[in-house]
Protein backbone atom coordinates (compact mmCIF):
# COMPACT_ATOMS: atom_id res chain seq x y z
CA UNK A 1 0.00 0.00 0.00
CA UNK A 2 1.13 3.49 -0.78
CA UNK A 3 2.10 5.35 2.38
CA UNK A 4 3.15 8.86 3.27
CA UNK A 5 5.98 8.72 5.81
CA UNK A 6 6.46 11.41 8.41
CA UNK A 7 9.48 12.69 6.51
CA UNK A 8 7.27 12.87 3.42
CA UNK A 9 5.09 15.33 5.31
CA UNK A 10 8.15 17.34 6.29
CA UNK A 11 9.15 17.37 2.64
CA UNK A 12 5.74 18.71 1.57
CA UNK A 13 6.05 21.38 4.28
CA UNK A 14 9.48 22.49 3.05
CA UNK A 15 8.27 22.40 -0.56
CA UNK A 16 5.29 24.66 0.17
CA UNK A 17 7.54 27.00 2.14
CA UNK A 18 10.01 27.14 -0.77
CA UNK A 19 7.19 27.90 -3.23
CA UNK A 20 5.94 30.71 -1.01
CA UNK A 21 9.40 32.29 -0.67
CA UNK A 22 10.06 31.99 -4.42
CA UNK A 23 6.71 33.60 -5.27
CA UNK A 24 7.44 36.48 -2.88
CA UNK A 25 10.86 37.17 -4.42
CA UNK A 26 9.61 36.83 -8.02
CA UNK A 27 6.59 39.05 -7.33
CA UNK A 28 8.93 41.72 -5.98
CA UNK A 29 11.00 41.43 -9.16
CA UNK A 30 7.88 41.92 -11.34
CA UNK A 31 6.33 44.94 -9.62
CA UNK A 32 9.36 46.87 -8.41
CA UNK A 33 11.15 49.44 -10.58
CA UNK A 34 14.63 48.67 -11.90
CA UNK A 35 16.73 51.66 -12.90
CA UNK A 36 20.31 50.90 -11.90
CA UNK A 37 23.01 53.53 -12.17
CA UNK A 38 26.71 53.17 -11.44
CA UNK A 39 26.51 55.22 -8.25
CA UNK A 40 23.54 53.24 -7.01
CA UNK A 41 25.33 49.93 -7.46
CA UNK A 42 28.45 51.02 -5.54
CA UNK A 43 29.17 49.24 -2.30
CA UNK A 44 28.05 51.25 0.71
CA UNK A 45 30.95 52.75 2.62
CA UNK A 46 29.41 55.74 4.37
CA UNK A 47 29.14 57.77 1.17
CA UNK A 48 32.80 57.55 0.12
CA UNK A 49 34.00 55.50 -2.85
CA UNK A 50 34.87 52.01 -1.56
CA UNK A 51 38.57 51.49 -0.89
CA UNK A 52 40.38 48.19 -1.52
CA UNK A 53 39.00 44.69 -1.63
CA UNK A 54 35.77 44.04 0.25
CA UNK A 55 37.12 40.68 1.44
CA UNK A 56 39.31 42.03 4.21
CA UNK A 57 41.47 39.99 6.56
CA UNK A 58 39.76 38.96 9.75
CA UNK A 59 40.79 37.76 13.18
CA UNK A 60 42.28 34.24 13.32
CA UNK A 61 40.22 33.68 16.50
CA UNK A 62 37.14 33.00 14.38
CA UNK A 63 38.92 30.03 12.87
CA UNK A 64 39.94 28.64 16.27
CA UNK A 65 36.37 28.98 17.51
CA UNK A 66 35.13 27.03 14.49
CA UNK A 67 37.60 24.21 15.26
CA UNK A 68 36.58 24.03 18.93
CA UNK A 69 32.94 23.98 17.86
CA UNK A 70 33.60 21.04 15.55
CA UNK A 71 35.08 18.97 18.39
CA UNK A 72 32.33 19.66 20.89
CA UNK A 73 29.44 19.38 18.46
CA UNK A 74 30.57 15.87 17.55
CA UNK A 75 30.52 15.09 21.26
CA UNK A 76 26.93 16.31 21.48
CA UNK A 77 26.02 13.78 18.81
CA UNK A 78 27.82 11.05 20.78
CA UNK A 79 25.96 12.04 23.92
CA UNK A 80 22.45 11.75 22.46
CA UNK A 81 22.38 7.92 22.08
CA UNK A 82 23.56 7.56 25.68
CA UNK A 83 20.83 9.94 26.87
CA UNK A 84 18.20 7.95 24.94
CA UNK A 85 18.88 4.62 26.67
CA UNK A 86 20.13 5.96 30.02
CA UNK A 87 17.12 4.94 32.14
CA UNK A 88 17.45 1.26 31.25
CA UNK A 89 21.10 0.89 32.30
CA UNK A 90 21.08 1.89 35.96
CA UNK A 91 24.38 2.56 37.74
CA UNK A 92 26.43 1.23 34.81
CA UNK A 93 24.93 3.80 32.44
CA UNK A 94 25.44 6.52 35.03
CA UNK A 95 29.15 5.76 35.49
CA UNK A 96 29.74 5.50 31.73
CA UNK A 97 28.10 8.87 31.20
CA UNK A 98 30.04 10.50 34.02
CA UNK A 99 33.36 9.19 32.67
CA UNK A 100 32.47 10.53 29.21
CA UNK A 101 31.49 13.92 30.60
CA UNK A 102 34.63 14.12 32.76
CA UNK A 103 36.84 13.47 29.72
CA UNK A 104 34.88 16.13 27.87
CA UNK A 105 35.31 18.53 30.76
CA UNK A 106 39.04 17.82 30.84
CA UNK A 107 39.30 18.67 27.14
CA UNK A 108 37.45 21.88 27.85
CA UNK A 109 39.74 22.69 30.80
CA UNK A 110 42.79 22.06 28.60
CA UNK A 111 41.57 24.48 25.95
CA UNK A 112 40.72 27.00 28.62
CA UNK A 113 44.17 26.69 30.24
CA UNK A 114 45.92 26.98 26.86
CA UNK A 115 44.09 30.23 26.25
CA UNK A 116 42.18 29.09 23.16
CA UNK A 117 38.96 30.44 24.57
CA UNK A 118 40.40 33.90 25.22
CA UNK A 119 39.33 36.64 22.89
CA UNK A 120 41.59 39.66 22.38
CA UNK A 121 40.05 42.18 24.69
CA UNK A 122 40.74 45.86 25.26
CA UNK A 123 43.02 46.77 28.15
CA UNK A 124 42.15 50.31 29.09
CA UNK A 125 44.54 52.07 31.48
CA UNK A 126 42.37 54.24 33.69
CA UNK A 127 44.12 57.32 35.07
CA UNK A 128 44.99 56.94 38.75
CA UNK A 129 44.30 59.85 41.01
CA UNK A 130 47.58 59.82 43.00
CA UNK A 131 49.67 59.73 39.79
CA UNK A 132 47.76 62.65 38.29
CA UNK A 133 48.24 64.59 41.52
CA UNK A 134 51.97 63.78 41.80
CA UNK A 135 52.51 65.05 38.25
CA UNK A 136 50.95 68.38 39.14
CA UNK A 137 53.20 68.79 42.14
Amino acid sequence: MLMLTEFGKVFIFILLGAIFVTIAIIAAKLVSPNRPTHEKLLTYECGENPVGSPWVKFNIRFYVVALIFLIFDVEVVLLFPWALVYKGFGIFGFLTGIIFLVILGLGMAYEWRKGDLEWARPHPIPPELDKVLSKKE
Binding site: M3, K9, F13, F20, A27, K29, T43, A66, L104
Partner: protein, 343 residues
Protein backbone atom coordinates in the same frame (compact mmCIF):
# COMPACT_ATOMS: atom_id res chain seq x y z
CA UNK B 1 -7.28 6.14 6.22
CA UNK B 2 -6.38 5.99 2.57
CA UNK B 3 -3.37 7.77 1.16
CA UNK B 4 -5.56 10.48 -0.39
CA UNK B 5 -7.13 11.34 2.96
CA UNK B 6 -3.74 11.48 4.65
CA UNK B 7 -2.37 13.78 1.96
CA UNK B 8 -5.41 16.08 2.11
CA UNK B 9 -5.32 16.27 5.92
CA UNK B 10 -1.58 16.96 5.84
CA UNK B 11 -2.02 19.69 3.22
CA UNK B 12 -4.80 21.34 5.24
CA UNK B 13 -2.61 21.27 8.35
CA UNK B 14 0.40 22.69 6.49
CA UNK B 15 -1.55 25.50 4.84
CA UNK B 16 -3.26 26.38 8.12
CA UNK B 17 0.03 26.41 10.04
CA UNK B 18 1.90 28.36 7.37
CA UNK B 19 -0.80 31.04 7.18
CA UNK B 20 -1.12 31.38 10.98
CA UNK B 21 2.65 31.43 11.21
CA UNK B 22 3.10 34.11 8.54
CA UNK B 23 0.39 36.25 10.12
CA UNK B 24 2.01 35.94 13.55
CA UNK B 25 5.40 36.81 12.06
CA UNK B 26 3.93 39.96 10.51
CA UNK B 27 2.21 40.91 13.74
CA UNK B 28 5.22 40.19 15.92
CA UNK B 29 6.91 43.04 14.01
CA UNK B 30 3.97 45.24 14.92
CA UNK B 31 4.10 44.16 18.57
CA UNK B 32 7.83 44.76 18.69
CA UNK B 33 7.28 48.34 17.54
CA UNK B 34 4.38 48.87 19.94
CA UNK B 35 6.25 47.47 22.94
CA UNK B 36 9.31 49.49 21.97
CA UNK B 37 7.19 52.62 21.94
CA UNK B 38 5.76 51.79 25.37
CA UNK B 39 9.26 51.19 26.70
CA UNK B 40 10.39 54.56 25.37
CA UNK B 41 7.24 56.48 26.24
CA UNK B 42 6.21 57.09 22.60
CA UNK B 43 3.02 56.34 20.69
CA UNK B 44 4.34 53.90 18.07
CA UNK B 45 2.65 53.06 14.74
CA UNK B 46 -0.96 54.30 14.87
CA UNK B 47 -1.82 55.60 11.39
CA UNK B 48 -2.59 52.57 9.19
CA UNK B 49 -5.87 51.04 10.31
CA UNK B 50 -7.23 51.09 13.85
CA UNK B 51 -4.29 51.77 16.23
CA UNK B 52 -1.93 50.92 13.38
CA UNK B 53 -3.14 47.33 13.16
CA UNK B 54 -2.71 47.23 9.38
CA UNK B 55 0.87 48.49 9.61
CA UNK B 56 2.50 45.06 8.85
CA UNK B 57 0.67 44.85 5.50
CA UNK B 58 1.63 48.40 4.59
CA UNK B 59 5.26 47.55 5.38
CA UNK B 60 5.22 44.42 3.24
CA UNK B 61 3.70 46.25 0.25
CA UNK B 62 6.18 49.08 0.63
CA UNK B 63 9.09 46.62 0.54
CA UNK B 64 7.54 44.79 -2.45
CA UNK B 65 7.46 48.00 -4.46
CA UNK B 66 11.02 49.07 -3.65
CA UNK B 67 13.83 48.75 -6.17
CA UNK B 68 16.04 45.72 -5.64
CA UNK B 69 19.65 46.91 -5.68
CA UNK B 70 22.33 44.27 -6.21
CA UNK B 71 25.75 45.91 -5.83
CA UNK B 72 28.30 45.50 -8.65
CA UNK B 73 30.91 44.06 -6.28
CA UNK B 74 28.60 41.31 -5.04
CA UNK B 75 28.49 37.63 -5.99
CA UNK B 76 25.03 37.66 -7.57
CA UNK B 77 23.86 34.01 -7.28
CA UNK B 78 24.84 33.75 -3.62
CA UNK B 79 23.45 37.21 -2.94
CA UNK B 80 20.02 36.01 -4.13
CA UNK B 81 20.30 32.59 -2.48
CA UNK B 82 21.09 33.91 1.01
CA UNK B 83 17.69 35.44 1.97
CA UNK B 84 16.01 32.40 0.41
CA UNK B 85 17.93 30.06 2.74
CA UNK B 86 17.37 32.28 5.77
CA UNK B 87 13.60 32.45 5.29
CA UNK B 88 13.06 28.84 4.24
CA UNK B 89 15.05 27.44 7.16
CA UNK B 90 13.09 29.64 9.55
CA UNK B 91 9.81 28.17 8.25
CA UNK B 92 10.84 24.54 7.96
CA UNK B 93 11.61 23.97 11.62
CA UNK B 94 7.96 24.38 12.48
CA UNK B 95 7.05 21.11 10.73
CA UNK B 96 7.91 18.96 13.77
CA UNK B 97 6.60 21.08 16.65
CA UNK B 98 3.35 19.77 18.17
CA UNK B 99 0.74 22.38 19.01
CA UNK B 100 -1.90 20.12 20.50
CA UNK B 101 -2.79 16.55 21.49
CA UNK B 102 -4.38 13.93 19.24
CA UNK B 103 -7.99 14.88 18.48
CA UNK B 104 -10.93 13.22 16.77
CA UNK B 105 -12.45 15.44 14.11
CA UNK B 106 -15.16 14.31 11.63
CA UNK B 107 -14.35 10.70 12.42
CA UNK B 108 -10.62 11.05 11.74
CA UNK B 109 -7.90 10.78 14.34
CA UNK B 110 -5.75 13.84 13.78
CA UNK B 111 -2.44 14.52 15.46
CA UNK B 112 -2.02 18.25 15.96
CA UNK B 113 1.48 18.28 14.51
CA UNK B 114 2.48 18.32 10.84
CA UNK B 115 4.93 15.44 11.09
CA UNK B 116 5.64 13.29 14.15
CA UNK B 117 9.24 12.58 13.17
CA UNK B 118 10.96 10.21 15.61
CA UNK B 119 14.20 12.21 15.47
CA UNK B 120 12.50 15.61 15.48
CA UNK B 121 15.02 17.21 17.83
CA UNK B 122 17.92 16.26 15.55
CA UNK B 123 15.93 17.71 12.64
CA UNK B 124 15.48 20.99 14.50
CA UNK B 125 19.15 21.19 15.49
CA UNK B 126 20.21 20.41 11.91
CA UNK B 127 17.98 23.10 10.44
CA UNK B 128 19.02 25.76 12.90
CA UNK B 129 22.60 24.97 11.87
CA UNK B 130 21.74 25.58 8.21
CA UNK B 131 20.55 29.05 9.19
CA UNK B 132 24.22 29.93 9.72
CA UNK B 133 24.77 29.46 5.98
CA UNK B 134 22.12 32.01 5.04
CA UNK B 135 23.79 34.71 7.09
CA UNK B 136 27.36 33.75 6.18
CA UNK B 137 26.50 33.72 2.45
CA UNK B 138 24.81 37.10 2.79
CA UNK B 139 27.86 38.53 4.55
CA UNK B 140 30.39 37.09 2.17
CA UNK B 141 28.58 37.64 -1.13
CA UNK B 142 27.59 41.27 -0.58
CA UNK B 143 31.11 42.47 -1.34
CA UNK B 144 31.03 44.94 1.51
CA UNK B 145 33.36 45.11 4.50
CA UNK B 146 30.56 45.66 6.96
CA UNK B 147 28.64 42.68 5.63
CA UNK B 148 31.68 40.41 5.75
CA UNK B 149 32.47 41.30 9.36
CA UNK B 150 28.81 40.88 10.32
CA UNK B 151 28.57 37.51 8.60
CA UNK B 152 31.72 36.17 10.23
CA UNK B 153 30.74 37.40 13.65
CA UNK B 154 27.36 35.84 13.23
CA UNK B 155 28.67 32.42 12.21
CA UNK B 156 31.16 32.31 15.12
CA UNK B 157 28.46 33.39 17.56
CA UNK B 158 25.87 30.94 16.33
CA UNK B 159 28.16 27.91 16.35
CA UNK B 160 29.49 28.80 19.82
CA UNK B 161 26.04 28.85 21.33
CA UNK B 162 24.87 25.85 19.36
CA UNK B 163 27.13 23.63 21.48
CA UNK B 164 25.54 24.71 24.75
CA UNK B 165 22.14 24.44 23.09
CA UNK B 166 22.85 20.83 22.12
CA UNK B 167 24.08 19.93 25.60
CA UNK B 168 21.02 21.54 27.22
CA UNK B 169 18.77 19.44 25.00
CA UNK B 170 20.67 16.37 26.26
CA UNK B 171 19.04 16.84 29.67
CA UNK B 172 15.58 16.89 28.10
CA UNK B 173 16.28 13.68 26.17
CA UNK B 174 17.49 11.97 29.36
CA UNK B 175 14.08 12.51 30.92
CA UNK B 176 11.87 11.87 27.90
CA UNK B 177 13.90 8.93 26.49
CA UNK B 178 12.97 10.08 23.01
CA UNK B 179 14.04 12.52 20.30
CA UNK B 180 10.45 13.08 19.16
CA UNK B 181 8.96 16.44 20.22
CA UNK B 182 5.55 14.77 20.61
CA UNK B 183 6.95 12.28 23.16
CA UNK B 184 8.91 15.03 24.92
CA UNK B 185 5.71 17.04 25.44
CA UNK B 186 3.86 13.95 26.67
CA UNK B 187 6.66 13.26 29.16
CA UNK B 188 6.04 16.67 30.76
CA UNK B 189 2.54 15.79 31.93
CA UNK B 190 0.94 17.97 34.62
CA UNK B 191 3.58 20.07 36.35
CA UNK B 192 6.53 17.86 35.34
CA UNK B 193 7.83 20.69 33.17
CA UNK B 194 11.50 20.52 32.32
CA UNK B 195 11.91 24.17 33.30
CA UNK B 196 11.06 23.15 36.89
CA UNK B 197 13.08 19.92 36.97
CA UNK B 198 16.18 21.32 35.28
CA UNK B 199 16.20 25.11 35.66
CA UNK B 200 19.88 25.37 34.69
CA UNK B 201 19.23 23.70 31.35
CA UNK B 202 16.25 25.98 30.80
CA UNK B 203 18.38 29.08 31.36
CA UNK B 204 21.25 27.90 29.14
CA UNK B 205 18.80 27.00 26.38
CA UNK B 206 17.02 30.35 26.71
CA UNK B 207 20.25 32.34 26.53
CA UNK B 208 21.49 30.23 23.61
CA UNK B 209 18.28 30.89 21.71
CA UNK B 210 18.81 34.61 22.15
CA UNK B 211 22.25 34.19 20.60
CA UNK B 212 20.97 31.90 17.83
CA UNK B 213 18.30 34.37 16.76
CA UNK B 214 20.79 37.29 16.81
CA UNK B 215 18.61 39.25 19.18
CA UNK B 216 19.80 41.88 21.62
CA UNK B 217 21.85 41.62 23.85
CA UNK B 218 23.59 39.35 21.31
CA UNK B 219 22.85 41.23 18.07
CA UNK B 220 26.52 41.86 17.21
CA UNK B 221 26.14 40.63 13.59
CA UNK B 222 24.03 43.70 12.85
CA UNK B 223 25.28 46.09 15.50
CA UNK B 224 24.29 49.33 13.83
CA UNK B 225 26.70 51.79 15.53
CA UNK B 226 29.75 49.85 14.30
CA UNK B 227 28.63 47.76 11.30
CA UNK B 228 25.86 49.92 9.73
CA UNK B 229 23.47 47.00 9.15
CA UNK B 230 25.81 44.04 9.44
CA UNK B 231 25.21 41.18 7.02
CA UNK B 232 22.17 42.81 5.40
CA UNK B 233 23.78 46.20 4.71
CA UNK B 234 23.62 45.63 0.93
CA UNK B 235 20.10 44.21 0.79
CA UNK B 236 16.97 46.01 -0.28
CA UNK B 237 13.40 45.32 -1.37
CA UNK B 238 11.95 41.83 -0.82
CA UNK B 239 15.37 40.30 -0.13
CA UNK B 240 15.79 42.57 2.86
CA UNK B 241 12.25 41.69 3.90
CA UNK B 242 13.36 38.05 3.74
CA UNK B 243 16.03 38.59 6.39
CA UNK B 244 13.76 40.81 8.42
CA UNK B 245 10.93 38.28 8.47
CA UNK B 246 13.39 35.44 9.08
CA UNK B 247 14.53 37.15 12.29
CA UNK B 248 10.98 37.30 13.60
CA UNK B 249 10.17 33.81 12.33
CA UNK B 250 13.22 32.55 14.21
CA UNK B 251 12.01 34.29 17.34
CA UNK B 252 8.65 32.53 17.11
CA UNK B 253 10.35 29.21 16.36
CA UNK B 254 12.65 29.62 19.36
CA UNK B 255 9.70 30.45 21.58
CA UNK B 256 7.85 27.39 20.29
CA UNK B 257 10.92 25.24 20.85
CA UNK B 258 11.47 26.50 24.40
CA UNK B 259 7.79 25.88 25.10
CA UNK B 260 7.99 22.35 23.68
CA UNK B 261 11.20 21.36 25.42
CA UNK B 262 10.94 23.12 28.77
CA UNK B 263 7.50 24.60 29.40
CA UNK B 264 5.38 21.52 28.76
CA UNK B 265 4.33 22.33 25.18
CA UNK B 266 0.54 22.16 24.95
CA UNK B 267 0.19 20.65 28.45
CA UNK B 268 -2.28 22.69 30.48
CA UNK B 269 -2.42 21.72 34.20
CA UNK B 270 -5.90 23.30 34.51
CA UNK B 271 -7.34 20.56 32.27
CA UNK B 272 -6.34 17.90 34.81
CA UNK B 273 -7.35 19.91 37.86
CA UNK B 274 -10.90 20.56 36.64
CA UNK B 275 -11.21 17.22 34.75
CA UNK B 276 -12.18 18.91 31.50
CA UNK B 277 -12.93 16.51 28.65
CA UNK B 278 -13.40 16.62 24.89
CA UNK B 279 -13.31 19.71 22.71
CA UNK B 280 -12.89 22.24 25.51
CA UNK B 281 -9.81 20.41 26.81
CA UNK B 282 -8.20 20.49 23.35
CA UNK B 283 -9.07 24.16 22.93
CA UNK B 284 -7.52 24.97 26.32
CA UNK B 285 -4.40 22.99 25.52
CA UNK B 286 -3.85 24.66 22.13
CA UNK B 287 -4.63 27.99 23.81
CA UNK B 288 -2.05 27.28 26.53
CA UNK B 289 0.56 26.56 23.85
CA UNK B 290 -0.16 29.88 22.11
CA UNK B 291 -0.17 31.86 25.35
CA UNK B 292 3.20 30.39 26.34
CA UNK B 293 4.64 31.35 22.95
CA UNK B 294 3.18 34.85 23.19
CA UNK B 295 4.66 35.36 26.67
CA UNK B 296 8.09 34.19 25.50
CA UNK B 297 7.85 36.51 22.49
CA UNK B 298 7.04 39.37 24.82
CA UNK B 299 10.09 38.38 26.89
CA UNK B 300 12.31 38.44 23.76
CA UNK B 301 11.10 41.95 22.91
CA UNK B 302 11.23 43.16 26.50
CA UNK B 303 14.87 42.10 26.81
CA UNK B 304 15.75 43.84 23.56
CA UNK B 305 14.44 47.18 24.76
CA UNK B 306 15.91 46.87 28.26
CA UNK B 307 19.48 45.59 27.93
CA UNK B 308 22.55 47.09 26.24
CA UNK B 309 24.62 45.14 23.72
CA UNK B 310 27.52 42.87 24.78
CA UNK B 311 31.08 43.38 23.62
CA UNK B 312 32.31 40.58 21.37
CA UNK B 313 34.83 39.10 23.83
CA UNK B 314 32.17 39.16 26.56
CA UNK B 315 29.82 37.31 24.24
CA UNK B 316 32.37 34.59 23.52
CA UNK B 317 33.34 34.31 27.19
CA UNK B 318 29.71 33.91 28.19
CA UNK B 319 29.17 31.25 25.55
CA UNK B 320 32.22 29.09 26.21
CA UNK B 321 33.11 29.76 29.83
CA UNK B 322 29.69 30.10 31.43
CA UNK B 323 26.97 28.53 29.29
CA UNK B 324 28.96 25.48 28.20
CA UNK B 325 30.06 24.32 31.71
CA UNK B 326 26.56 25.05 33.01
CA UNK B 327 25.02 22.90 30.29
CA UNK B 328 27.42 20.04 31.20
CA UNK B 329 26.49 20.47 34.86
CA UNK B 330 22.83 20.30 33.91
CA UNK B 331 23.25 16.90 32.26
CA UNK B 332 24.97 15.53 35.39
CA UNK B 333 22.20 17.04 37.53
CA UNK B 334 19.48 15.34 35.50
CA UNK B 335 21.38 12.03 35.45
CA UNK B 336 21.73 12.14 39.27
CA UNK B 337 18.04 13.06 39.64
CA UNK B 338 17.02 10.05 37.57
CA UNK B 339 19.39 7.81 39.57
CA UNK B 340 18.05 9.00 42.93
CA UNK B 341 14.34 9.53 42.32
CA UNK B 342 13.74 7.10 39.43
CA UNK B 343 11.62 9.65 37.54
Amino acid sequence: MSIMEIVVITLIKIVAILSVFLLSVAYSVYFERKIASWAQNRVGPNRVGWNGLLQPFADVFKLLLKEDIVPEASNKPLHTLAPFIALLVAFSTYAVIPFGPEVELFGYKINLVVADVNIGILYVLAFTSIAVYGITFAGWSSGSKYSLLGGIRSSAQMISYEVSMGFSVGGVILLAESLSPVKIVEAQHGWMWNAIIQPIGFITFLVSSFAETNRLPFDLPEAEPELVGGYHTEYSSMKFAGFFLAEYANMIISSALITTLYLGGWQNPLVDIFHIQGGWAVAMQVGAFMIKIALLLFFFIWVRWSLPRFRYDQLMNLGWKVMFPLALLNIIWVAVLIMVFKI
